[in-house]
Amino acid sequence: MDLAATTKRGVVSGIKVLWELAKVIVPAMVVINVLDKTGVLHYLTEWLGPVMGVFGLPGESALVLVTANFVSFYGGLATIVALALPFKQTTILAAMMMINHAAISETALVAKAGARGSWVLAIRTVAMVLVGLILNWVMP
């Protein structure tokens, strides 16, 4: 094994992949910031609020899912902490946002890698809803 050649190939493919990721991540962040600042996310949260009851969750918990999906995983996590809900509700919300988060950038990445992005997003969304319903049903 030629150490220099191996290192060089590693550096080249690392930089190439960074560039490919940049082409996806930067536009995604532009879209996300515009959605946030124009108030679109705020309306989405208000609209989703009543739906959250299906999962045994209060209306304001919609903010967690909207933040996790349109802003970032960390944003969603911070929102869960801020809401300080009981254990069962926290677990349901956490499981839901862990299954589906960063929808815009992660879907773009998956599509960039050559998979069917819309399938992956649709299945993750269905999985999130089902897990939320089942947990609300089975958890004491």
């Binding site: 550096v11 990721l21 962040m29 124009t38 677990t91 862990m98 589906n100 993750r124 089902l130």
Partner: protein
């Protein structure tokens, strides 16, 4: 106004990419694994997970990367694997369904445990969900013979 918001988004996206700098050392490490033949070993360990999903051994590396460090890094490795043309679009979709639901298990579980949730319970829920949906999609899109043919062809 709109232009300024777009610019802010551009900057935060740029910072996000800069934060991914350690993909370069990661890729050097992967190149060493590849050239020394250790990669085959790694993929062998992943077989119990790959076979039920009807995925070939080539899916082992992106699977490990995605599960261990996250979808962004996993996608980095995945882009590379896809460029080498070793996985079909359907195989990539099955893998991304699984990894999409269950990834970065170390970091994200630690974070939730740190804020007082039951991390072990959450990771179990996630893994089971990923396994069920990944299995379902593989049965729907990948023929039974496919994984074997891919393996024979590799």
């Amino acid at each position: 106004m709109l232009l300024q918001w777009a610019w802010e988004g551009f900057l935060s996206g740029f910072m996000k990419v800069l934060a991914l700098w350690w993909l370069v050392p990661l890729f050097i490490a992967i190149q060493f694994l590849k050239d020394s033949g250790w990669l085959g070993q790694l993929s062998k360990w992943m077989r119990p997970l790959l076979r039920p999903l009807r995925l070939p051994d080539e899916a082992g590396l992106p699977m490990v990367a995605g599960l261990a460090v996250g979808l962004t890094y996993g996608a980095g490795v995945l882009i590379q694997t896809a460029e080498e043309g070793k996985l079909s679009k359907d195989q990539l979709t099955v893998m991304c369904v699984f990894l999409g639901i269950c990834h970065a298990v170390v970091e994200e579980t630690i974070l939730f445990t740190a804020v007082g949730s039951n991390g072990v319970l959450l990771i179990a829920i996630r893994f089971v969900t990923a396994a069920i949906f990944g299995f379902g999609v593989s049965r729907f899109t990948l023929g039974a013979a496919m994984a074997r043919t891919e393996k024979a062809g590799a």
